[in-house]
């Protein structure tokens, strides 16, 4: 090649690159987060919002979301819904109507999530639900809604089998039973215990703001149960565990709370927690976590100077699922196509939770994802993963499809 030809070739290449780069622009995709950033639900909501922001930073650092020739960098707007249905409705309306957001993540708590789910089907938007465990959220066949956390009764069934296997027959329940998904969890536990010849001998209630559980525990103590089952938010549950010890109740304590060590230790001592079981989806603990989970835990702790709550990866995984769905659909504007792509998505390799795909897909036809369930026990200041709780995601998915 002559010097002249070489110069022309270089000039042509430069022109091609310049033209190409002007077509493949870097754009911004704003995603919204509606979650409990303050108030009682913040123990779940704030870590979820943090997790989405962290995932966005990671995705941006890795080059963003690629749609055809375009690359989208993610921007996150988070609003506080205080786990309140009215606030959640306002937050989501603001995201859609004012901020022009099409993809809304977060949603830790069932009451507020159900309120948004009731109208999201009419919107050109996609809703990705996290920790909210109320079953009915994914029984309404809303095409533009998916959820990363399995419903509470899916876990309750596995928990009931575990408790029955431990040989306890008379179980006293203390929990936030006026909250639908906690009641559903207990109903599932009861069905399994009854199959083994046991019974629930008491269903005592606490509210989110209750901190003195001694009246209920004293009543339960008088019934002489074999074990207690505590279902509810971390903070009141922590008081139940502490006050049960103070009342001298030396019986097995099972729970369904998903609180981190840090959250429990704000209320109780490690000695008071020793031996407590948490029967829940196999969420984040260092011993149960995958390689992704361990990296997530380390990155989150470094970034926020606090341990992530076990349920926070539900929101982290939402953003990676959304990224994969947008890339598969090849559009950010057509939310119907993205929603459809979510339903056909294989589990993305970057997710933290250990999902059990149904027919090879992360979300089933109802938009529901399933993780494995596990038995965790508090041992010397830590939640220790003890064993998997057998759970049949396909059978449950078929059951879910029969509900309205």
């Amino acid at each position: 090649m002559s010097k002249h030809k070489f110069t022309r070739a270089c000039a042509a290449l430069a022109l091609t690159l310049v033209a190409g780069s002007s077509l493949a622009a870097e754009k911004k995709l704003t995603v919204g987060v509606a979650d409990a950033l303050t108030g009682g639900g913040a123990v779940y909501g704030l870590p979820q919002a943090n997790a989405v922001k962290m995932a966005a930073e990671e995705i941006n650092a890795a080059g963003g979301i690629k749609v055809g020739a375009d690359t989208y960098k993610i921007d996150v707007i988070a609003y506080d819904d205080k786990a309140n249905p009215t606030e959640a409705t306002n937050a989501v309306r603001k995201l859609i109507d004012r901020d022009g957001v099409k993809y809304i993540l977060g949603f830790c708590c069932s009451g507020s999530t159900s309120a948004v789910a009731s109208f999201i089907g009419n919107e050109k938007a996609v809703m990705l639900v996290g920790n909210a465990a109320e079953r009915s959220i994914t029984t309404k066949k809303i095409p533009n809604l998916v959820r990363t956390r399995p419903p509470a009764d899916y876990t309750g069934q596995a928990a009931g089998t575990f408790i029955a296997r431990k040989g306890q027959k008379r179980i006293a329940v203390l929990g936030a039973l006026d909250v639908g998904f906690y009641a559903q969890y207990v109903d599932s536990v009861e069905r399994e215990i009854k199959k083994a010849g046991g019974e629930i001998i008491a269903r005592e209630v606490f509210s989110l703001k209750d901190r003195d559980m001694t009246p209920q525990l004293t009543k339960i103590r008088g019934l002489n149960p074999d074990a207690i089952l505590v279902v509810g938010y971390v903070e009141p549950a922590a008081f139940v565990y502490r006050q049960a010890v103070e009342l001298g109740m030396n019986i097995p304590r099972y729970g369904f709370t998903s609180g981190s060590e840090e959250q429990f230790l704000r209320v109780t001592t490690s000695e008071q927690m020793e031996g407590v079981w948490d029967l829940r989806p196999t969420e984040l603990t260092l011993l149960s976590a995958s390689k992704n989970g361990i990296a997530y835990h380390a990155n989150y702790t470094k970034k926020y100077n606090a341990s992530p709550s076990p349920s926070s990866p539900y929101a982290y995984d939402q953003l990676y699922a959304l990224k994969a769905a947008i890339e598969a659909a090849g559009t950010v504007d057509n939310t119907d196509a993205v929603a459809k792509a979510l339903r056909n998505l294989a589990v993305p390799p970057q997710v933290v939770m250990q999902y059990q795909p149904v027919d090879g897909k992360m979300f089933d036809v109802n938009g529901q994802a399933y993780t494995s369930n596990g038995a965790f026990q508090w041992q010397k200041g830590k939640w220790v993963f003890v064993e998997d709780l057998p759970s049949d995601s396909k059978a449950y998915s078929q059951f879910l499809s029969t509900l309205n």
Partner: protein, 287 residues
């Protein structure tokens, strides 16, 4: 059954002690100055937060942090009187009412800004449990009950046996006559607010140690405090003591023997029943 009743009574005594302290603070201000001091609960929570802050961030032992918080409470009470209520003392009652509501929102906002939105528990390190037959009493609850009794007795002695206490009672009975008798009525509101806020701070510390302090808890506490005031009789010190104790024990027994779902409702039903029989409250004076 007897064991359970006794256990529920012990359970109720600790929270009853907190109600008594809150109600005494409220009844002092209301009985003597005629002010419905709604910000009392939020200021109590400020005291609890301050103790937590001193004990955790500043490394003070809890026993050293408590007197500092009580002293800060007295100072805060004086400031509230001078800056918030004194300017409207001679105005229509509605003015003091609005000031009280505004002050509540302000203190809640300050608590949120200074101490954040997360619930905090004051670390006491008291985790022993005493057992008497079938009854168990956690060490911390026992100390809370004892501390409440000591504070109530100290306050009664101050009001009944000291010259300042006599002056306070004189102002409560007849302000004009008290002026004629040479009582310095400008300092009485300062003393009343200082004393009332210190009692509130003590209650806030107890709540923070027994349970937790979080935004919104102070509002619930002040509602219970006013319920105790009405139950015991407006402006009556013995009424506040009896009313607080009755409310605490009733809540506990109602949750244990009727239903935990209606714990608060049942307590208020009892209050209404008492008022139907004695409209002036348990120990209030008939008009």
């Amino acid at each position: 059954m007897l064991i359970e009743i006794l256990q529920q009574t012990i359970n109720g005594l600790a929270i009853g002690g907190v109600y008594v302290l809150i109600a005494l603070g409220l009844t002092t201000v209301f009985g003597i100055l005629g002010i419905a001091h709604f910000a009392h609960g939020s200021i109590s929570m400020f005291g609890g937060y301050l103790t937590y802050f001193l004990a955790t961030s500043q490394g003070l032992p809890v026993l050293a942090a408590i007197p500092v918080a009580l002293a800060a409470g007295i100072l805060l009470g004086v400031l509230v009187e001078v800056l918030a209520y004194r300017p409207v003392r001679n105005a229509n009652h509605i003015n003091a009412f609005i000031v009280a509501l505004g002050l509540t929102m302000m203190v809640e906002g300050i608590n949120l800004q200074l101490f954040g939105h997360e619930q905090v528990v004051i670390p006491t390190g008291l985790s022993r449990v005493f057992r008497f037959g079938g009854i168990t009493v956690p060490e911390l609850r026992l100390y809370v009950i004892v501390a409440a009794i000591v504070l109530v007795v100290a306050m009664m002695i101050f009001v009944e046996r000291t010259k300042t206490g006599q002056a306070i009672r004189a102002v409560a009975e007849n302000r004009d006559a008290a002026i004629l008798m040479g009582v310095n009525v400008r300092t009485i509101p300062l003393i009343v607010f200082g004393m009332s806020t210190a009692l509130g701070v003590a209650a806030g510390i107890m709540v923070g140690a027994l349970f937790a302090i979080a935004p919104g808890i102070g509002e619930g506490l002040v509602v219970k405090g006013f319920a105790v005031l009405i139950l015991g009789g407006l402006g009556s010190f013995p009424g506040a003591i009896l009313g607080g104790t009755v409310l605490g024990i009733t809540e506990s027994i109602a949750a244990g023997f009727i239903s935990s779902a209606y714990k608060d409702v049942i307590a208020f039903v009892v209050m209404i029943l008492v008022l139907l029989i004695r409209p002036q409250g348990l120990l209030g004076r008939a008009p």
